[in-house]
Symmetry: C3
Subunit: 348 residues, 3 copies
């Protein structure tokens, strides 16, 4: 990209202090600014950098008052972070060049349907009965199983495995190596100590605008559907077991796992490395801190939890604070007991 | 599938209450029953659904006594869950259509041997000296390294990597993206702070009827074998380090990890996100609760543990219960000390 | 391989006690020794095996004094473990047969550059503008995105995804299924509860001699670089978020995760299943025990931590020790209170 500051000011409806002819060819963090880059200042923590940054211009709050001399141009807006994110999106759009057509060396089964505007990369395998929607981008080396549906505009990165019958909605993003529709982990214990596999005959359904991180796994239901609702975002290496339901606009950070048949209502947020036991329900807007272990259903919406097993966030912090003093407390108790003994035994 | 209730009753040796001509085309959970579906009632928690289910028939205990009017037919058997699982397996068998032959675009090295009844999918790579047994199903986009052996009837899903020399027994299932035989994590610290790789020259051996979940990893041994014995079931995203040995019929839930040279004896069960330190032995039948950290060997068989680090299950629960009251306990101790001080100081 | 003991003694500058014509064809652990194998004794724990091992020879400390009769030859050296590791490396070198050339069925885009001495396996995809250095080994079924650079001598195992613009240094090893350069997990919350994706325009840069475990994930930076410095070793299933920086010669065990914008200085060591919160700095040489949760920056170098949240290693051990006695402590406090009450109430 290459724009003048004047053009960018117009796009952002920003008040420019600087030369409108200055050319901007890059976006950068303020501490990594360089000639030709545009940055932003939103977090006060980064304030000192504005006096030293090499960025050609910085987006700031409309009422920003510098305390020292500046070497950079300013673009004053109401919300610098939102303005910068908007520019990021514009740049991403310019960089995005959706492909169409079927690359040499792709395998398309006879009964599969690939929309004319979709792209299927080399070494991808589209099995019998699979359907690829308009504009979908199936990168190279992807597997789309029998009867799977990929919605319009969805992007599937390399080495993802979309098992048979899986449904992916519109405008989803599935990162590399994700497995959608692998068998649920169900086995019936036998008298001789061995385990018999319980066939997993259900599906996985992802609604629209779902994003799945790299190498994450979502198991198909035993019967019925494992369901990931609209707008859900999963980070990398997340595990979603069979028959789980994840409410719309829920966000789950990396390496968390949800055991079978649990339901998250909408707008839940899980930190990284969280575990949730099976057959629970988490009320909408539940917030679970990183590394927590959820072992009971949450009924009241919008509460924050922490710990393994979880307590209310504040209660857990209080317990943790005392945990750090436990050894002292143990000795204090011993001293108290000794003092008590002295009082109990008559001194003469 | 399409069967009449009469046919199904005969298969299950069930007592039918309803029209033997009713057609069944689907299995469902009782709460998701619909016309043409057959469901089951095993867990009393789901009892209310039997009076409202839309399922055409429900498998129930032979002595089930309805308390209200039923709209569904009944199939009475001794063990409804076992009967339903049996039907699931029958349906799965009907759906399973093992393929044979080598698909166009597969790569088979000159010295590799592929049994005539095996299937190798497109874009799969069978390296020099590899052996694929009778009836094995190598799905598309699988990698089978040099000299690896895949036993008869085993199924390998897309994007799995079976490194060189790995041995996979008969009737194993390896889900998508699993890595079997990657290098163990061994490095010798050098004087300058860097690390020198210790070559990993051993193998991974999976015995028969092992199932490995999606994106799980099993590292090859430094020397000798990393060994996964008969009937072991691993869930998704599990990590098994070099020189580990997992006893037969052990079951490990998602995102658990076993560090190097540890041995699990037979019939161990690990919940999700468990970690086990290296060079330990866990006695047969050990049960480890989710998110636990095992930092010592377990000698007595058949015991249950929990916590990080682990305690006996009951002891850990008792500690956790008090942990929740720690802040109160801390204040109580302070109050006790003040009362003690008052007693100690003469009132006059 | 096949060497005589005399040859091996010469290579190791070892003092041989045994027949120099004995042929050695294998390396083994001492407890798994067999005719023709060479083993070593470094850890005193394994001392008893030297009297029973079937190995044809064992490398021992130069001053080793057997207490019983030996059936095996001895090779006396200063550091048996180092000598054995040296032999492992020699064997690994002999086994390593780097390939060169482009295998049939590989996809090389028109503007990609592949060095003449590099190898690209079947079904690998080298996108536009990608550069593959001298001697690099791109195994089958690898994806190298647009403009990515793979340094000389690096080895990329099957099913790895190297996203666009990623830089991999020289002599790196990337195990199967690793994803380098997937999008950072960044979303801006919207008024309606949904999340808007923040485009991830940065890169991932791996310096030289980095090793990445199977199915590990490293996210690209939002802007700038996610940076993994020289000599870093990551185990399997590790998650590195966007804009993280990992100092040289740091080592991270399996299933650990580092959240966004955190910096590890050089020579840090993280155990398995560790979590580190975002925007922190860990001083050089920090050691974090398995399953710990790091929720604050570490300023003093070279210290060991443990727990979730972390304490200094020793402090955490002390707290854990009391945690195991918490239930007893709770009852003790109750008893103290009762005794105090008795003292407080005048006996007459």
């Amino acid at each position: 990209m290459k724009f003048t500051l004047g053009q960018i000011a117009a796009i952002l409806h920003a008040k420019l202090e600087g030369n409108p002819e200055t050319e901007i060819s890059d976006l950068s963090k303020i501490q990594e600014g360089h000639a030709g880059s545009l940055s932003f200042l939103a977090n006060p923590k980064y304030l000192p950098y504005i006096y030293t940054t090499q960025a050609s211009a910085v987006i700031v709050q409309e009422d920003f008052e510098p305390q020292e001399a500046l070497q950079t141009a300013l673009l004053r807006v109401k919300d610098p972070y939102a303005a910068f994110t908007f520019l990021l999106q514009k740049v991403a759009e310019l960089q995005r060049r959706p492909k169409s057509g079927i690359e040499k060396h792709a395998f398309i089964a006879d009964s599969a349907q690939v929309a004319a505007s979709a792209y299927v990369g080399a070494f991808s395998y589209i099995a019998e009965g699979a359907v690829i929607g308009e504009g979908a981008q199936i990168h190279p080396q992807v597997y789309i199983g029998e009867g799977a549906h990929i919605g319009a505009g969805s992007v599937i990165f390399p080495h993802s495995t979309i098992y048979h019958q899986t449904v992916v909605g519109a405008n989803c993003i599935i990162h590399a190596g994700a497995c959608i529709g692998s068998d649920g982990f169900g086995f019936a214990p036998q008298a001789d100590g061995s385990f018999q596999k319980i066939p997993q005959l259900g599906r996985v359904v992802l609604e629209d605008e779902v994003e799945i991180g790299a190498n994450s796994c979502i198991d198909r239901a035993t019967l019925g559907d494992t369901l990931v609702k609209k707008g859900v975002k999963l980070d990398n290496l997340v595990q979603i077991a069979h028959n789980v339901e994840i409410g719309s606009n829920s966000v789950i950070a990396a390496q968390s796992g949800i055991a079978g048949s649990t339901t998250l209502e909408e707008n839940c947020m899980l930190g990284g490395q969280v575990g949730v036991v099976g057959h629970l329900t988490l009320a909408k807007g539940s917030k679970i801190d990183a590394q927590s272990g959820v072992n009971k259903s949450i009924k009241e919406p919008g509460q924050a939890f922490r710990g393994s097993p979880i307590q209310l966030f504040r209660d857990q912090l209080r317990s943790e604070m005392v945990f750090r003093k436990l050894a002292d407390m143990y000795q204090q108790m011993d001293r108290l007991e000794k003092r008590l003994e002295e009082l109990e035994s008559p001194s003469i």
